[in-house]
Symmetry: C2
Subunit: 274 residues, 2 copies
């Protein structure tokens, strides 16, 4: 296959390196930054710098841009992709991508399979990309028809480059779950570290402080777009968390040890099951 990676950041760069390491496909890369393109070529992450011909000849196009930019690229090239091409993305929201795409993309000439790799780092950019980034991770695949040939192709290639599994679901389910499993921990890490005591933690903290704050080293440009594209679900999740925190606070205020213990027993049981 001819594979084209659009956007050679942390995720796109990792896709390129993983395809190079684990498959024999021909990998072309596109990026708006000249230096990144040269780095990708020199480091062997891609076989070639992609151009208009590669857009036309690619069997699989992996668009690793932020949501609006991803939709813009796909819409601008919708008539350039070759017949039968499979287009996928790696955005952290899925309803917004489908909403922003030109409806003619779904007329059957090409296939769009929205995907979201459950892998990442606090750092961003090609320099941090890694051929083994996806090892053991899940790829969430939101095909309209999960049994379609295109969806199966995406899943098969994902399993070849390190993903442990593919989770198939609707864009709605994806966005609801990701608000809880990924977006909320990021909001949480930021909210926690905004506490005025954070700067004094040294000498008073251990593992749990580091665990909670790890993802506070956040890319505000990317995450603000992702949060706004999933604002309804994320607001619900923040509410849910505030309600649960408030239950602890109420029990504390009432000096109700039994209530505190019941909340913790339930938490521990849930942790054991997850």
């Amino acid at each position: 296959m001819n594979i084209l990676i659009v956007g050679l950041g942390l995720i796109g760069g990792s896709y390129a390196k993983a395809f190079k390491k684990y498959t024999d496909h021909v990998i072309a890369g596109i990026d708006r930054d000249e230096k990144t393109l040269k780095n990708a070529l020199i480091s062997g992450a891609i076989h070639k710098i992609g151009d208009q011909n590669d857009i036309k000849n690619a069997d699989l196009i992996v668009v690793s841009l932020y949501p609006q930019a991803a939709a813009d690229f796909i819409n601008a090239n919708k008539d350039n992709f070759k017949s039968g091409a499979i287009i996928t993305d790696s955005c952290g929201v899925k309803r917004a991508i489908y909403d922003k795409l030109d409806k003619s993309l779904f007329d059957g000439r090409v296939s769009f399979i929205g995907a979201h790799p459950m892998a990442g780092k606090e750092q961003s950019g090609f320099d941090y990309s890694d051929a083994d980034m996806f090892n053991g991770a899940s790829l969430i695949v939101t095909a309209e028809n999960p049994q379609s040939e295109a969806a199966i192709t995406v899943r098969n290639i994902a399993l070849k480059i390190g993903f442990k599994r593919c989770t198939l679901c609707t864009p709605e389910t994806h966005d609801k779950m990701i608000a809880f499993t990924s977006q909320l921990p990021h909001i949480l890490a930021c909210s926690y570290i905004l506490d005025p005591l954070a700067l004094n933690h040294d000498g008073y903290s251990a593992g749990s402080f580091q665990d909670v704050t790890r993802v506070a080293f956040i890319n505000d440009v990317m995450w603000s777009e992702l949060f706004l594209d999933n604002a309804d679900n994320l607001s619900n999740e923040i509410d849910e968390l505030i309600n649960n925190l408030s239950a602890f606070k109420t029990a504390l205020g009432e000096r109700d040890r039994d209530k505190l213990r019941q909340l913790m027993i339930k938490s521990r049981e849930l942790k054991e099951k997850t």
Copy 2:
């Protein structure tokens, strides 16, 4: 020195093993559970099972019980400790310990140095104790006079058994900081995992979900006591977190990308400094 460890759970057991591994002192152990005592002796964590004579002959007594039990043990034996003995504890709250102790303990015959090792595991009990539990960790020491001979003895021996540093502070500062650095992350982990979506996370989650939920595997008996002994500080910290979460929620509701970015930029700057 003759060292007596009272309570051979996760922390007391680790103290015993660390003293055995890194010093030549004679270690006696006391525990209400016969099986634990035998395990400790057979595994070589202690030289001997402690009795009334060891309470009388110990130069250093490390009381590793929950706060009320720790205070009860120390008060019950206040006239048995030998003159010049140093008594320390490992409780996660410090004001409550000082409050519960008989005031005659501070008349100069013995020294009480309240301490809190910033180390732990999700599991509890002697079976999980580890001679290297304290490697690289901080020991918070809340001596009335941090320059006293007893405080210096505690610090010196702590540095010998793996602690990287000793943080000296008042019980008030300890309790305020620990509400933020340790108690709040535990409340947070529980509050987060109480979300109805938690049981469906599989296939939709990655590192940040695991980070936030790690300490939800919680010992409800111990933590409910610690939370109630620090309820004022902990309530303030929950409020602070709810306020910051609410700031994100408000910005989301107003679709205010700039406000979201500002909150995240501030978070990232704080993360960089911590």
